[in-house]
Structures are given as C-alpha cells and as structure tokens.
Amino acid sequence: MCAALLAGSAAVNAFTQERQTGGHEGVQQDYQKMTPEQRSAATREFLGLGLMPDTAAAARGAPLFAQNCAVCHGKAARGAMGPSLITSDRVLTDEHGERLVPFLQKGSPGKGMPGFATMSDQQLTDIAEFLHLQVENVANRGTYKVLNILVGNAPKGKAYVLAHCMSCHTTETFAHIASKFRSPEQLQRNWIWPMHDGSITADVKTSKERFSGRVTEISDFRITLVDKSGKTRTIDRGPGVDVQINDRLAAHQEIVMTLANDDMHNVTAYFETLK
C-alpha cells in the first residue's frame, strides 16, 4: 500500500508504489533525495523490521549455511525439503544469535533437524546473522535493486527509432544519450518519458484579456501560468474563460500507452550503445 513524484529509479519507487502503481501505501517522505542506505533504513523503520543484521557476520555465515543447512532449507533459506526460515518464529524472535545459537547446538531431532554441537558459538552466530540478512533481503523492499535490464536487440532498436522518432527528432537528439543517465534503467525511463517542466502550456482567453504561458497549476476551478516575461497569472475558470491546453509530450504519452515490451527493450539496448 506507497507517495511522491514520478521519475527516479525503480528502487526509489519501491517505496512509493501507491503513487507509482496504485499498490501499497508506504512512507510519506521524499526518497528521491536519499542514498540507498537511507532508503533501506527508512523502509526498515516503517516496516518495523527490528535491528539491522550484521552484514560482516552474515558474509562469514553464508558458506557455513550453504554447507550445513541449504540442502534442507534452500540456499536463501526460503525452504526446500525443510521449511522456509524467512517466517520462522525462532528466527524472528532472535536478535543477534542469543536464541538461535542454543537451538542450533541441540537441533530438533524429533523433527529431523540435527544439532550442530561441534560448531563454535561464533560460527552459529554467523549463521544466525546470515538468516537475518535473508529476512532483510525479502522483507525490506527498500533494498531491492533492478537487475541487468539490457535484454533487447540494439539493431532492432535502431530500426524502431528510425521508423518512429524522426518526425520530431534528429540523430543529434540521441547522440551520447546513454552518457546522460546514471543507469540503463534511468535511460529507459527518460527516453520514454523525458522530464520537462514546461511541457504543458496554455492559451487562456477571458472576456477582456488573453494569456499564454507555462502552466504551473490547473484544476477545474483555477489555472496558474507563467508567461514569457516570467510574470505569474492566476485565473479563476468560470463562464467566459476559455482554456486551451498544449502538451508538448503528447506524442510521448502515446508511446507510454502503446509501447510493446520488446520495442522498449530494443530501443534501450540501442541507446545504451550511444555513449
């Protein structure tokens, strides 16, 4: 159930889904300005996930878990022959091994879970931290990262661009386009929907005057625009007030509403070659 502006990375928008996709509401803060670590911490607090796992200990615990536990519980502790440990009461009530370590020493022989009495407390604590990190990786969507999105065919992408984009743009528009964005995902987002503050303009006619300019606010009842001289005008919309809206991004909105996934991937793969 999540809020704020469009744009930004998908990782950013993992927090802002209600605004973004209508899904779940989340934290009402501006994640655009946060570092990945801050976003992760804010989501962790919002979700009430408790203490942050010790990642160094978890890294030490990873090979131990793989060797001793993964065959039953799966490599990411999400279950195999044995149950998933992501929602295990024993894991979720433990903070830094104080409950898990004594349990792991003895196991639960009645349920087919062996004890690990020969492992040191430190090793078992490291396994406990590894488990806490697996929970974090699942439950804290503030840590999610998009994978390698370059799955398209660049030559086909070039053909699409030549066929669809050149009535408005020239090759100059796209020269070095990939170098303008910090990730392929940013590139993909921005070629589909370029950000322009001034993309909506309006011509307003009242019984006495005419105004034209960049729209900064519009509702059923009021319009505010900034004209070429930088002057701001607010006009109440009533009888006799005619408002004509011009959207410079109308063609891009058409792309948003009709673009096929293959074409999206291919064009992004092509643009990524234009560094």
Binding site: E25, V135, W193, V256
Partner: protein, 536 residues
C-alpha cells in the same frame, strides 16, 4: 433528548463516572444495516457498501447555504513512523450524537454538535505499519478498534475505557492492521494486511463480549482442499498472501459476507507460484456464522501486478431480463468492472473501465486471462497502474449507476528476483507518463460509463486514488479532486454544482446524517475533521 445528550457530553469531558451514568451511545446490532438517517453506524453506513443516503435536505437548490459548522484538528499526535503528519483515513461513525474517528494507534470520540473532544484512546504499538486506519465498529455500547500490531481492542464507547484486548496476528511476520471491524449480529469480523513476508491472509470472527475466536477463514487453501490445485504445492499456498484489509459487505437475507481479497504473494514475482492462486484477488461469499466459503469469483487470476482486489464489493438489486436479481459489483483495481449474481457468484459483466491491454479475454467463468508477456520482467514490462484503490466508491439506486474515482495510466514493472523461489515483493513498479484521474459513472448492467469527469491536473495521480464518494437521493455526488477541492456533482449527469477548497484533500470517507433535524456532511481531510451543514 437533546439537552440530555448535551449534559452527558459535558460530563464525559470532566468525569468518567458522569459519562458512564449517561451511557448515551448504544447501538443494537439489529439496528445496523438499515438506511442511515440519524446516524452513520458502520464503515459504509449500512451493509450494502452503496454509500447512498436517502436524505434530501441538502439539494441542488440550497448548496449556496452549505457552510462549515466546526473543524476538529488532530494536534496532540506528532510524526508517526513513516507519517510526518497525521492523515485521517477513516470513515467517521456517528451514533447518538457522538462521532468516532481514528488514525493509527488513536481513537477519538467527539461531540457531533460541536466537534469537542469527549475522550481519546492512545495505543502504544509494538510494530506494524502505520499507513492508515479506517475506523471503529460499534456493537451496543462497545467500540472495537484494530491496532497496527494486530490487537482487537474492546472499548467502552461512552468513556474510551479499555474492556479487553486480543492479539490475532504476528507483527514480526509483517501482518499489520488498518481495517474497521465489521459488526454483524454477534460477530466482530476482523481482516488483516501484510505483504513483506509472504504470509497467508485470513478473516477472523470474534465474540463481541468475550473476545473468543468464533471462526477463521484462510484466503489460501490448506492441506486436503481441492483448491490447492491452483498452487504448485502446499508451501506456496501457505505463503500466498490474499490479505483482507478492507471491510466487506453483507446480505442479511442470504446471511453472506462479501469480502474482497488482496494481492497474491510473492507480489510481483509469479514464477514460483504457477496457477490461478485461489482465493487471492477474489470476491468471496462466506457464511457469516461459520466462515464457510459459499462461492468465489477470482477477479485477477495469477496476479503479478499488486492488483490487490480490495475495492468495496457493492450490493444492490435490479431487474435483469424481467426478473429481480441480487447483484454485487466492484470497480476492481485491475481495471475491470465486475457485476456478479450475489446468490451464485455467476458473472453478468466483466469489462475494462480504463484503457488496458494485458488481458487476452475472459475464461468460461468470466475471469480475465492475463497475457504472460505483460508480467514484470528483468528488462521491464509496461502495464497499467491500479485503476482504483481503497477509497470508497458508491452506487445510487436513484440513478442506477456505480461511481468510482479511477486512474488511467501506466507503470514499468521490473522483476528484481528472477530466482526459481522468489520471496517478498520480488519486483517493483514505477509509474511513467501522465496519470489521469477520472470520476466515472458506470452502468453496472453493461460496464459502460454513462459519464466521465477527468480532473485537470499537472502532477500525476495522488498518493491515494481518492477521494471517497457519497451519493444522495437529492441527486448529489459528493467527492473531490487531488487539489484540495471538495466537489459536489449532479449524480445523473456529472455536472459540477459546488466546490470548496480545503486545507488538504479529502482523505477518508464522506458521511451524512440528520442531527437535531439538521443535515450534516462530515469528512476527514488531512489532519482535520470537517462538519458542514446548511446555514439559514
């Protein structure tokens, strides 16, 4: 009576003893479900979910006299986890001159005549998400409240004193509660939310006196159930989601609850849960006394877009092909408008009400068939944003139309976990392009909009797809835009009749009632509750 209530209200402020002697609030369970006139006793006013008022005192002719009577602003609660300022997302209840409002961890009782606080209940949570709170449920002189960390709290409705508390879900497993309990006879029906750890959804029924559990219905099948064939294995079903976080509706004659179930888990990554994934993303009909499933209709089989099917299922009766028929309709978050026979669950209408291209058609049962290419993918997949959400829709028996504030727009959905065994959300979605908010008046017998109003705006759809809607017998439709305007439309034609700019967008539910013969319209907007009426 008026004087008596006023004295009680005054005593309640100064003396707990005085308030308990007065006992001005008492709502017999058999009084719930009738058309609300002098009160607004449940989340939806009655059990139908129509949010239609038979009152006609406020009408097209006197809207100029509409004026604010009082405002109650929440001032004593600061920032909560994830929420810098309180936002009222509840539908207020009004019983015997007392209004009940909530935000996460807090309940207030207010004097409905003045907006003065009568009592305030403050819960200290130990976990849970503080994203919203939809309101209390009232049974006789008891108010029931759900906490973020999944406690059902029984309060004396006259004093705010706690009678008992009962925990029904583990917040550490990311279950959290935002709902308003639904009161039916001697049942307190409690739904739950939660996504982050792939837990199964459920609905609980509690005894209103003792708090004892009467029954539990699970949103996904348990061992031995034939519906397990819609899951690859029992473990996937046990971790399959289907939260019940919005109040359902109820037909007293059929004795059936109609409950909307939320998204499937893992949310965006469907590769580990092949199949339709019953009974997530469905409307389910349950016997209110036993919790037994009577029928289901799955609105989004094998959902991978967080289509979280929680918009209200509205109950209404119509003549269809010359015969009276009991119907249930929903403007679903997946963009389809659904009308079903509520006795059998058989579909009459399943039709897109926003532009969408992710479905290849309907199954024999009328369920939309998703196109696999539109699933979230590593390279990104474009699909619609949620077309509606929890803010209340409405149905007017007068116009025969269903009303919903919808959103038309797209998002790119990425799969962030492409393993065979994903868990949690497993992906993410980010809106792209312009999202247009559109108020629609849909004929539920055809699924076609009779009129639409697109709200002009620069920014995209707001944080919630609200505001909520209320319709009246005087042909009014009360709702609003996302630029702080409360707007009254004509319900039959969609003409704007009146508007007023508030300090925030309407954010909960809009209610109406007569108090001392005076018609009120009451709603929350941001941190404030507003009461409007007609000035002479």
């Amino acid at each position: 009576m008026k004087l008596f209530a006023a004295i009680c209200a005054a005593l309640a402020v100064t003396s707990v003893v005085g308030a308990s002697l007065c006992a001005q609030v008492s709502l017999a369970p058999n009084a719930i479900g009738k058309a609300p006139i002098n009160n607004w006793p449940t989340f939806n006013g009655d059990y139908t979910g129509e949010r239609y008022s038979t009152l006609t005192q406020i009408s097209t002719d006197n809207l100029k006299q509409l004026a604010q009577q009082w405002v109650y602003r929440i001032t004593e609660v600061g920032a909560q986890r994830g929420a810098p300022v309180p936002i009222i997302k509840c539908t207020p209840l009004q019983v015997n001159g007392v209004l009940y409002i909530t935000i996460p961890d807090h309940v207030w009782a207010l004097d409905a005549r003045t907006g003065k606080e009568l009592w305030h209940y403050d819960w200290v949570d130990h976990g849970g998400h503080l994203v919203g709170q939809r309101g209390v449920g009232i049974w006789n002189s008891t108010a029931f409240f759900l906490t973020p960390d999944n406690w059902l709290v029984s309060l004396d409705a006259n004093t705010g004193k706690e009678n008992w508390r009962k925990n029904y879900a583990d917040a550490r497993k990311q279950y959290f509660s935002t709902s308003a309990p639904l009161i039916v006879k001697n049942h307190v029906i409690v739904g739950v939310g939660g996504d982050a750890m792939d837990m199964p959804g459920f609905l609980d029924s509690f005894d209103p006196v003792t708090g004892n559990l009467q029954w539990t219905w699970w949103s996904t099948p348990r061992k031995g159930d034939p519906a397990l064939k819609t899951w690859p294995n029992e473990a996937a079903s046990d971790h399959g989601g289907g939260m019940t976080w919005m109040p359902g509706t109820y037909d007293p004659e059929l004795n059936l609850l109609y409950w909307p179930t939320g998204n499937t888990n893992p949310v965006f990554a469907g590769q580990g849960r092949s199949g339709a994934n019953l009974w997530t993303e469905s409307i389910v009909a349950l016997d209110v006394d036993t919790g037994k499933l009577k029928w289901y209709f799955q609105v989004s089989p094998h959902d991978t877009h967080d289509f979280d099917n929680t918009t209200a299922p509205i109950l209404f009766d119509r003549i269809v092909n010359g015969k009276p028929q009991r119907l249930v309709a929903q403007a679903a978050r997946n963009g389809f408008f659904v009308t079903l026979d509520r006795v059998t669950g058989k579909y009459l209408v399943v039709k897109p009400y926003v532009p969408l291209d992710y479905s290849s058609g309907l199954s024999a049962q009328g369920e939309p068939i998703p196109i696999p290419d539109k699933d979230p993918s590593v390279g990104g997949s474009i699909n619609i944003v949620n077309a509606s959400n929890w803010p209340a829709p409405s149905y007017s028996p007068k116009t025969g139309l269903a009303y919903v504030n919808s959103v038309e727009g797209k998002a790119i959905y990425y799969l962030t976990d492409d393993s065979d065994n994903p868990s949690g959300y497993g992906g993410t979605g980010a809106g792209i392009g312009r999202e247009v908010r559109v108020l629609q008046a849909i004929d539920p017998l055809t699924g076609i909009a009779v009129w639409k109003h697109a709200y002009p705006n620069l920014s995209n759809a707001p944080t919630t797809v609200g505001p909520s809607i209320l319709t009246t017998a005087s042909n009014l439709l009360i709702s609003g835009d996302d630029q702080k305007n409360l707007i009254i439309f004509s319900a039959d034609k969609g003409e704007i009749l009146w508007h007023h700019e508030l300090n925030a967008n309407e954010s909960g539910g809009i209610i109406t009632y007569l108090l001392d013969g005076k018609p009120y319209v009451v709603f929350g907007a941001g941190d404030s509750l507003y009461a409007w009426s007609l000035n002479k």
